[in-house]
């Protein structure tokens, strides 16, 4: 069973003459340990596809399945619970909680899912050590470099052992060298865990880390 399966997904805004098609009959399957790079120009529908795959947006039409979960019919509350338990997100520019330490940023996810206590604390510490941030657990995001912040964001995305991790331009705020390091780390982490990953990027120099590259243009996925 694919970790992510989009079938004939459409997303439109407005109606009639003012209708805007953001995603047009898109179908995509990502296997359990596969890393897919999604590339395309601005306004092509990358973000919309990522948002629908992660349960942030509901499709206008079509089916969205993440593992065994068919989420296209979920209501707002069900989608919140789904995101909390089954999907990891890495946002542009890390987007960490500025007043929480690196470790606490990871623990927020565990806390939201109700996984409190020593086990969560140990997992957060272990993840940060694995990401090379063992010496930074108590630092606030403002005290970390751009690369370190992005690594914390990766740790946060992996904290609840999701079935699918979605990366939104993870290297956009980094220089080429740091970008390469982060992409390599992403690949190692998702491959090491057998987690499916979709990486939205406009930087074609980073796509060789992915198992497969999918192009999107005007809301349509290339065949």
């Amino acid at each position: 069973m694919p970790a992510l399966e989009l079938q004939d997904v459409r997303k439109t805004y407005g109606s009639g003459d003012t209708e805007v098609v953001a995603l047009d009959h898109a179908s995509l399957a990502v296997d359990g340990d596969e890393m897919v790079a999604l590339i395309g120009p601005s306004g092509s529908g990358k973000t919309t596809l990522l948002s629908i795959a992660g349960g942030l947006l509901a499709p206008t039409q079509g089916s969205v399945r993440v593992g065994p979960h068919e989420i296209s019919g979920y209501d707002r509350g069900q989608l919140t619970k789904f995101r909390r338990e089954f999907v990891g997100f890495v946002f542009q520019g890390a987007n960490l909680v500025p007043f929480l330490t690196a470790k606490e940023n990871l623990l927020v996810v565990a806390d939201l899912a109700g996984n409190k206590g020593k086990a969560a604390d140990q997992r957060a510490t272990a993840l940060l050590e694995e990401l090379g941030l063992g010496h930074r657990v108590g630092n606030l995001p403002g005290q970390l470099s751009g690369g370190e912040r992005q690594r914390v964001a990766i740790g946060r995305a992996l904290m609840n052992e999701p079935e699918l991790v979605l990366f939104d331009e993870p290297t956009s705020a980094l220089d080429s060298k740091l970008g390469e390091q982060v992409m390599e780390l992403i690949r190692n982490e998702v491959k090491g865990r057998g987690t499916a990953a979709v990486v939205v990027t406009h930087d074609t120099r980073m796509t060789h880390y992915a198992d497969r590259v999918v192009e999107i243009s005007d809301g349509r996925l290339a065949a």
Partner: protein, 366 residues
């Protein structure tokens, strides 16, 4: 909730404006309440101290203690009503007392009473009086002989009692005979006939509700009006007006506190839309975020209450004793509760905005 708590403790500057404004509002509410209580208690303590639950005035007095005159026969009728356990007389007149060694006389409320109450023992022998301890500050001491009124009628001070002010004056407590003697020499028109008093204080028998006894006395004795103690206290000139004016100001101040919290949290929520969007994207529900807002509002309100309370105590310690400020624990508790409720309501104004934050905004760009 944990995240909200950490934001509050690690970014206190973000909440300083609201906290500061609320602290000033707390000081205002506590001072206004303290002044209200000071005025109210300063005016009514002597009546509050009475053990009796029912006050009886003559009908023609129109609920005024000062105008009331109940003669001996009417008093006997009142005492004969079913449900009355005891009836005793109480009279008051405001007269200055000349203190030995002082050039200026001291204003007092002079009571003639027959039975002990919660703060004053049974009347001392004729020619003697207990005085309220507040008069100690005016130079009155035990053992002195005070001269009352223009006639300087002598009455010896034999002890102090606490918490018996009336019309913001310290009370002087003496038996009816001494009281009548002082009045006869200084205000002849106010002299009472033997056995008469201005008010009759009635204690109901066990199991009889004061309101029932009020109705029974009104029905059985047409020459009088019976009032519960609370109604009699509110009937003192100015008390009801003071209370309603101050209470209205305090309510308006609470509304202002609510608006401060509402406005502040509306702005803060607007500022935190990207953060809330991201938290929603990783699985925080609107309810969790709203609960965090409420927690922050309540903690700010509690912090403002503590700091505002300390400031108020500081002010109370330095203001002149002549200003009737009385900081009561009961009012402090009500203020704290009112502030917490106001903060909750104020923060709830932002809930709608929180619910409408779209988690998809966390994913940006293309």
């Amino acid at each position: 909730m944990k995240t909200a708590w950490k934001e509050l403790t690690r970014k206190p500057g973000r909440f300083l404006t609201a906290g500061g404004a609320l602290t000033l509002i707390v000081v205002l509410i506590l001072l206004l309440g303290g002044l209200l209580d000071g005025l109210y208690l300063g005016t009514t303590r002597a009546l509050e101290a009475q053990s009796a639950d029912v006050f009886v005035y003559s009908k023609d007095a129109n609920d005024s203690f000062f105008r009331s005159r109940v003669d001996a026969a009417t008093r006997a009728d009142v005492a004969a009503v079913d449900g009355v356990e005891s009836a005793s007389g109480l009279s008051v007149v405001q007269l200055p007392a000349h203190v030995p060694g002082l050039a200026e006389p001291v204003d007092t409320a002079m009571f003639g009473y027959e039975a002990a109450n919660t703060r004053v023992p049974a009347p001392p022998p004729t020619g003697q009086a207990f005085v309220d301890r507040s008069l100690q500050g005016d130079g009155i001491q035990v053992g002195q002989t005070l001269g009352f009124g223009p006639a300087r009628t002598p009455v010896k001070v034999v002890g102090f009692v606490d918490g018996t002010t009336f019309s913001l004056q310290g009370a002087v407590w003496m038996d009816p005979e001494t009281w009548n003697g002082v009045v006869r020499e200084n205000v002849p028109t106010a002299t009472l006939a033997p056995g008469a008093s201005q008010a009759v204080l009635v204690t109901p028998e066990q199991g009889v509700h004061p309101a029932e006894l009020v109705a029974a006395i009104d029905e059985r004795v047409p020459a009088v009006t019976a009032l519960t103690k609370q109604d009699a206290i509110l009937g003192i000139p100015g008390v009801k007006d003071q209370k309603s004016v101050f209470t209205a100001i305090i309510w308006v101040t609470f509304v202002v506190a609510g608006l401060v919290v509402a406005l502040f949290f509306a702005l803060l929520t607007l500022e935190r839309v990207p953060l809330f969007g991201m938290l929603k994207a990783i699985g925080a529900s609107s309810r969790t975020l709203a609960a965090g807002l409420s927690l922050q509002a309540v903690l700010i309100a509690i912090g403002a209450f503590v700091v505002g309370g300390l400031i108020t105590f500081g002010i109370a310690a330095v203001i002149p004793a002549a200003i009737p400020l009385d900081l009561e624990a009961r009012r402090a508790v009500y203020t704290a509760l009112g502030l917490v409720v106001t903060a909750l309501i104020g923060s709830a104004i932002s809930f709608r905005r929180v619910v409408r934050i779209d988690p998809a905004t966390a994913v940006g760009g293309s």
